[in-house]
Amino acid sequence: MMTTDRRGLILGGAALLTVPAAARAQGSSQGAVIDITRARTDPIPIAVPALAGGGGRGADIARVIGANLRNSGLFRPVDNAAFIQSAEAAAATPRFQDWRVIGANALVTGRVEDQGGRLRVEFRLWDVLPEQQIQGTAFTAPAAQWRRIAHLISDVIYERLLGEKGYFDTRIVYVAESGPRDRRTRRLAIMDQDGENNRFLTDGSFQVLSPRFHPNAQQIVFMSYFQNTPRVYLFDLNSGRSEVLGQFPGMTLSPRFSPDGRTVVLSYARNNDANIVAVDVGSRSQRQLTSGNGLDVSPCYNPDGTQIVFNSDRGGDQQLYVMDAGGGGARRISFGRGRYATPVWSPRGDLIAFTRISGGQFGIGVMRPDGSGERILSEGWGMEGPTFAPNGRVLAFYRESQARGARGEGYSARLSQIDITGFNERQIVTPTDATDPSWSPLLA
């Protein structure tokens, strides 16, 4: 495996020794490899001792891996204080009984080598019960990118033990909010999925909303009030430059890229209607996909780009509709109690996540694309804007707390993530209030 991302970071993932078929076949019956449908109730106990070498960096990498796995809710890292064999010795030769007796089903070992500004990190994943190596891989990257190596290793562990892709080597773009709500400063911000490496992309001199990633993770489409005119813009992460997307005489909002990145679908509000419009990113040509009475907002493609789910009040109140990507054939899919909004299609195609407002409460839920199987995952005074992790297993969204006083005391807006089973909701820590998260695809 050799991958290059667009900023020139080269991550060489060289296979050390792999015995995939045998290890997984055996593991699935008695070892660490398990069926993901069982995983929620039965997190995998895994030991992640410090990787050897690297002058402390090995411990940092192990800590990030352990946190990723724990935060997923699908793994239970064993307390380091219980370890019998030293990390250094385990990196050479694991003594499996030492790991078995402390309850670890899987073990991660490795070694960090500083090659003058670059790190070579070799890691091995072991199935403790059959005493077999499941995976061995080496990554090389600039030393400053050590967190990415930790995330890449986490993704390998996740995929090998759960049988589906991980989501750790990803970022989240969001709106960083500060100041009183009537004079709010809103900036584009980006961070790793675990909240680290937070960085502000705009200076707050103009308001921004609704950032969403391009499928290559190098561009963002968002809405801005630059020069007091609400319009949709493209932002390039490499150059830091933005440009307006198309000339519309009214307001454009709620943009989102198509899965191939060639089209942005958005809502165009003019006069008393808001309609869904597809804008070709290359030619900037526009194609109106809905028309007529109603506010049609928040469009989102399905993974193969053939259908669009959106939010409309054409039937009287806000509901979810699915139509062909070329427009036409819209059919309502939400029929539960309350209003439905902000639909997003899972990258796996199997679910649509949404915000539901019902009985004075906001909730985040999922349903199948035909509207069946609705489940509310989290509910409270205020929450909205779900976004799927690239493997479709986890949602991020933002949660608001109710103001207690007339000056808005007690109000806050924070990012949360939750497993699509409805378990393991946890806050993603950000330096300021945060809204409108959008999860990137896997970076490598």
Partner: protein, 165 residues
């Protein structure tokens, strides 16, 4: 009472945000005079044709019921007074801002605010104001006038506000 104070605070905040525009308006409207306007108790020094003048003379905002984009009867008379005020200051252009309360989702509320701004704009136009002088803009739920999380605050926030450009 409380509503009026909050309204005035909101207008002042907007003024602060557009202060460079106000300077040119002041120069252009110096001869307009405000002699006939009675509503300026406590704000008698408002510059004619300015935002303060609009607020003091006729009121800068109208309110909407939950989920509604219909201007209510009390709002219609406010907009008629705004149209008369704008007729006195033909050089003044305005933004018509649409807003929503916090009990909806952000993107839908942006579209809802746009519809409210349009409804208010259409009534100004029906009262003789040229559509060229009015630019609509929606802030959805993202620029509330009242900061509480209660029915009284939400009623203040479902609004269309006329602001001098």
């Amino acid at each position: 009472m409380n509503a009026k104070i909050l309204g005035a605070l909101g207008a002042l905040a907007l003024l602060a945000a557009c202060s460079s525009d106000d300077a040119s308006n002041a120069a252009a409207t110096g001869a307009g005079g405000s002699g006939g306007l009675a509503g300026g108790a406590g704000m008698g020094s408002a510059r004619p044709g300015s935002q303060e003048d609009l607020v003091a003379s006729v009121g800068d905002r109208v309110f909407f019921d939950t989920d509604s984009t219909q201007v209510r009867a009390d709002g219609r008379s406010t907009l008629e007074r705004q149209a008369a005020w704008l007729a006195r200051y033909p050089q003044v252009s305005v933004y018509m801002e649409g807003h929503a309360d916090e009990r909806g989702t952000r993107e839908y509320n942006l579209a809802l605010g746009q519809r409210r701004a349009n409804a208010a704009r259409d009534l100004l136009v029906a009262s003789g104001v040229s559509g060229q002088r009015i630019q609509t803009v929606s802030y959805g739920k993202d620029r509330p006038a009242a900061l509480g999380s209660d029915e009284a605050s939400w009623a203040q926030n479902r609004r269309a506000v006329t602001t001098v450009r």
